[in-house]
């Protein structure tokens, strides 16, 4: 056995220790085969009176291997997926029906398949350690806790607690787990095995309640119990808050609904069928691939060029102490890096540092950070107006006003002091990096690091390669992002780079709909219905109309007649120039902000943009997704993007493109490129050339080429637990 070892002891209590290669135990084929064999051996060996199941790792078991589960869609039929699920279900069933008591001595984190394994044991003893979280988080990857997870948790914890945990995917620490009765005992680490042995010594009955003849399922009376009926009604209504794009929550609710009514094995079978449906659904594949596999791969350096020593920033200069600079200074100091925070005068720089004090203060208040540690972070930030303090910096991040001349001057002032090997990063979100690099003494050491606002909460950094940016500079930039524990994507220089460029498609599409007579509430709700967190009109109010219009004006200035202004330009100009409403800061654009009340769509919109009745919300939903996906495809075609993973990560973490799609490019692959091109042609006819597929995309469609190829999956080598 490669993933565990069985040791017998004289007292008859065998210890089965999970100890797979690598840093953690995960559920995969090898594990299941070993567990089947171990269980058989335990049943056959009369000298074994009981089993203590524990782990040799820091964690007990972190879940199933997502690298295996990601392949469910497209390779397995639902029936094959059911058979796959049934094998794990039977493995757990064999444990609980082995005729011998098993006690899970849970020495650390037990999530997903790990906690399902513990649930199959006859007793669960959890180590008293806050890190030893237990739970069934599968909903977060578009799946349900199969192999008995929903059924056993439902019976053990009851409908209400089970659904709370299953639908939220929330894990709980030892004390709460004990209170919820999902573990039986919590003991200090050094008493774990003793406690397990002590329980086994009581000669416990190894028959689960549901295997005793005459057992009735807790909700056998089904919907004839008014309280249960009302509860399921409310839970089903609650699903609407998550939306209608994700099949997992409804499948979980259905599993529990049936699981509590049916005889145990029938309940397991129904759960397995729902699991099989989810595993073969593209949504699970999309969520797992982008938000787990691609994300972790990016964080572990999937885009880092090889052959350069690891770079560690010890001292960083942040130029500009506005909102972005202040945020970058905070996340850098928080990562243990010394920060020189520069602005035009020390008072302004100090204001930027105050932001860190504010964020840290809140963490201390919530008990998430000690005052000492907060003080240490703050002490790393030196606010100043003196560029000389940049001496000895490993790199700088420039976050001054978005103006080429100002940036050029700042670059020169900084480089006058900076060591020769230091890299220079600009946080610009709009100005071409190659152009800014012209002001640098060494354009090969000049790179774009586009952070998102608020910097301390947004995990993505869009790395922009200028024409001359060297691979070494890229490696350093990525190493710096890894120090900050953020997720990088790498794009090539062009107007708006990637994220800003495609995000414009969303807000312009929404604005364009207004001119077509779509009611503003429908514009907003259609975007939210596809899973965008905020409607485009609300986004525009926050951004102010000046920003997207400035981008348009700049492009017109540069390209003149060759440039086609995006779809919502006319509406934005009318709002700003004719109607005089340009954003929240100036009292509201598409929305009104009554004092002390909730914001609401501005009633006057209908006077300027008369509403028509023949809108179709499904068509609007499609337009949002297609417009963004098509522009992303263009970015790949133009080599602004180099990989589908960068595209998808940027979409989800950059501007909130819905995770169920897997990102803008996964969305195309999910629909199927042929259908995507056909449908885009239809949309282009109706709404304009922004939907028109290029010759390149048509060619891909004709060949039936997906964006993701089997080769794109090889970026991760380690197993990855759910």
């Amino acid at each position: 056995m490669k993933t565990m070892r069985l040791e017998k002891a004289e007292d008859g209590f065998a210890i089965l220790t999970l100890d797979a290669e690598g840093s953690m135990n995960v559920v995969n084929d090898a594990f299941i085969a070993d567990m089947e064999a171990a269980t058989k051996q335990i049943v056959a060996d009369e000298s074994i009176k009981g089993v203590i199941l524990t782990s040799a790792k820091k964690t007990f078991m972190a879940g199933a291997d997502l690298k295996q589960l990601v392949n469910g869609f497209g390779t397995l039929t639902p029936q094959e997926a059911y058979a796959f699920s049934k094998r794990a279900t039977d493995m757990h069933r064999a444990i609980e029906q082995s005729g011998k008591p098993w006690v899970a001595a849970i020495n650390g984190l037990a999530l997903g398949g790990g906690f399902e394994l513990a649930l199959a044991c006859h007793r669960r003893i959890l180590v008293d350690d806050a890190k030893a979280q237990v739970g069934l988080p599968e909903v977060n990857v578009g799946l349900l806790p199969g192999s008995g997870g929903t059924v056993r948790l439902g019976i053990i914890a009851g409908m209400k607690i089970a659904l709370d945990l299953l639908l939220s995917g929330r894990s709980v620490g030892p004390q709460e787990a004990l209170k919820l009765k999902i573990v039986d005992e919590v003991v200090p680490a050094d008493k774990l095995i003793d406690a397990a042995k002590a329980w086994l010594a009581t000669v416990p009955d190894p028959v689960k309640p549901w295997d005793v003849k005459g057992w009735t399922p807790p909700q056998k009376k089904g919907l004839t119990v008014p309280e249960d009926s009302a509860a399921y009604m409310m839970y089903t209504g609650g699903l609407a808050k998550v939306g209608y794009n994700q099949p997992a929550p409804a499948a979980i609710l259905n599993s529990v609904f049936h699981g509590l009514q049916l005889p145990f094995d029938k309940a397991l079978a129904v759960e397995g069928k729902y699991f099989a449906k989810l595993l073969t659904d593209p949504v699970a594949r999309n969520i797992i691939r982008t938000t787990f596999i691609s994300k972790q791969a990016a964080e572990k350096g999937a885009r880092r060029p090889e052959g350069f020593p690891k770079f560690e920033a010890k001292k960083v200069g942040v130029l500009g102490a506005g909102m972005m600079g202040a945020g970058i200074a905070f996340v850098s100091a928080n990562a243990g890096i010394d920060v020189v925070l520069i602005d035009r005068d020390t008072a302004t720089a100090q204001k930027g540092k105050d932001y860190s004090a504010k964020v840290l203060g809140k963490l201390v208040e919530k008990g998430k950070l000690t005052q000492d540690k907060a003080d240490a972070v703050l002490a790393r930030i030196t606010p100043t107006d003196d560029f000389a303090l940049l001496d000895g910096c490993d790199m700088v991040v420039e976050a001054v006003f978005e103006d080429t001349a100002i940036k050029a001057e700042t670059t020169k002032k900084a480089e006058a002091v900076l060591p020769a090997q230091a890299i220079f990063a600009s946080n610009t979100s709009t100005l071409p990096i190659s152009q800014l690099a012209q002001a640098s003494r060494s354009p090969d050491q000049f790179i774009g690091l586009h952070f998102f606002s608020p910097v301390d909460r947004m995990g993505l950094v869009e790395v922009i390669m200028g024409k001359q940016t060297s691979k070494e500079t890229l490696a350093k930039g990525l190493d710096f992002i890894a120090q900050l524990r953020k997720t990088p994507i790498v794009v090539n220089d062009s107007r708006g780079f990637y994220t800003s460029r495609v995000f414009q498609m969303l807000i312009h599409e929404g604005a364009a709909m207004l001119a077509e007579g779509v009611p503003p509430a429908v514009i907003e709700n259609a975007a939210k219905a596809v899973g965008m967190p905020v409607g485009p009109l609300a986004l525009l109010d926050e951004l102010t109309l000046d920003l997207p219009l400035k981008i348009v004006d700049q492009a017109i200035a540069e390209e003149g007649d060759k440039y086609t202004p995006p779809a919502g330009t006319a509406v934005m100009r009318r709002m700003k120039d004719e109607i005089g409403r340009s954003g929240r800061k100036t009292g509201g654009a598409f929305y009104d902000y009554p004092e002390g009340g909730k914001k609401h769509l501005w009633k006057g919109l209908a006077d300027h943009f008369p509403v028509k009745q023949d809108w179709d919300v499904e068509e609007l939903k499609k337009r949002y997704l297609y417009a963004q996906a098509m522009e992303t495809a263009r970015c790949l075609e133009e080599n602004v993007l180099e990989t589908p993973q960068d595209a998808d990560l940027g979409a989800i973490y950059g501007w909130g493109f819905p995770a169920w799609t897997g990102g803008t490019i996964s969305y195309i692959d999910t629909i199927g490129i042929k259908k995507f091109v056909e449908e885009s042609d239809r949309l282009a006819q109706l709404y304009g050339p922004r939907f028109l597929p290029s010759a390149w995309l048509r060619d891909k469609a004709a060949k039936g080429e997906d964006f993701y190829t089997p080769a794109s999956e090889t970026r991760v080598k380690e197993p990855m637990p759910a």
């Binding site: 919907l223 004839t224 008014p226 009926s229 009302a230 399921y232 009604m233 409310m234 839970y235 089903t236 209504g237 609650g238 699903l239 609407a240 808050k241 939306g243 209608y244 409804a250 609710l253 259905n254 609904f257 009611p519 503003p520 509430a521 429908v522 907003e524 709700n525 259609a526 219905a529 609401h600 769509l601 919300v617």
Partner: protein, 400 residues
Amino acid sequence: MEAYVYDHVRTPRGKGRPDGALHEITSVEMATQLLKALQSRNDLDTGLLDDVIIGMAQPVGEQGGVLARAAVLQAGYAQTVAGQQIHRFCATGLDAVSLIAAQVHSGMIQAGIGGGVESMSRTVMGYDSGAWTSDPSVAFSNYYAPQGIGADLIATLDGYTREDVDNFAVESQRKAAHAWENGYFKKAIVPIKDVLGDVVLDHDEHMRPGTTLESLAKLKPAFEGFGKAGFEAVAKAKYPEIEELNYVHHGGNSSGIVDGAGLVLVGSKEFGEKAGLKPRGRIRSYANIGSEPTIMLTAPAAVSRKALKAAGMTEKDIDLWELNEAFASVVMRFQRELNVPDDKINVNGGAIAMGHPLGATGAMILGTVLDELERRNAETGLITLCAANGLGTAAIIERV
């Protein structure tokens, strides 16, 4: 074959709560007392009846097991009289009458009794539940939301303010009080007696005469809790034109929860001759329909048009309209859609004032319309109800 209405009776409506006057009276007992009353006031040879259909919106527990047959036997009717139970949510009571009429129309039976009963104090809403609300796979894909959300959705879409719907409720109370004061319901009411034979209730107990806008303004919206728990999101998924739901309905402008029963005696011409009874009205047509289930309550206009078409009539041919006041917005939407003036609809008030004993209401309001047509010496009436899951029923009657 024509189907005639020979008589109709109803119980007074008791508050549907443990302190309501009818709480000690079982559903089968209410039906039994009404059957006895129909027999005795018409000196009816019950052997002439073929079928009794009694429906309810909660056909479970003491209201289950084909209550109609139990009541037939309990009332001492001839044992040859068949019994049947139907369930079409709030459409039930009227639909039961239509089903008797349909059998008469087809010539397969000569006479029968249709109607409904509901003890909401004893068989609480939700006892019946069902897949449509509570089987997650069904309720989710069907975008189920509670009826109150549908009522508030209508108000939001149509722009009815809290004051509009409260005004409607005040009017319902005023009209009901006026009708009671003037004895308009007297003929139909059968006072309900307890085991000692003493009357426990002889009037509609739920009414609040003197209700004003000010008194209603104090009531909190009843369905916001459902909305915030997720059903507003359900409503928005189906009606994205809603920025947010306007919660305007509450206990004072929604139908009251009450206990009660109503029955209608329907038969052929020959039956009348054999029984020595004079027909009071003719059932011209009846119809059922399904409509969008999330908003749930907007079927009455469409089903009314359907019934009018079946009768070869138009809106102009109807003298009196009666639409069950499930919620104020339901009737307001109906009036707007069919252009029905206030003085032609629910002229003696409705369920907001007097209560809505779910499965019984349809039969009760058919009787109300017939009595009022006689009082006014008018000819035609259309009775309609919205029902759960988007259902709706309607029937058209005419005096003879």
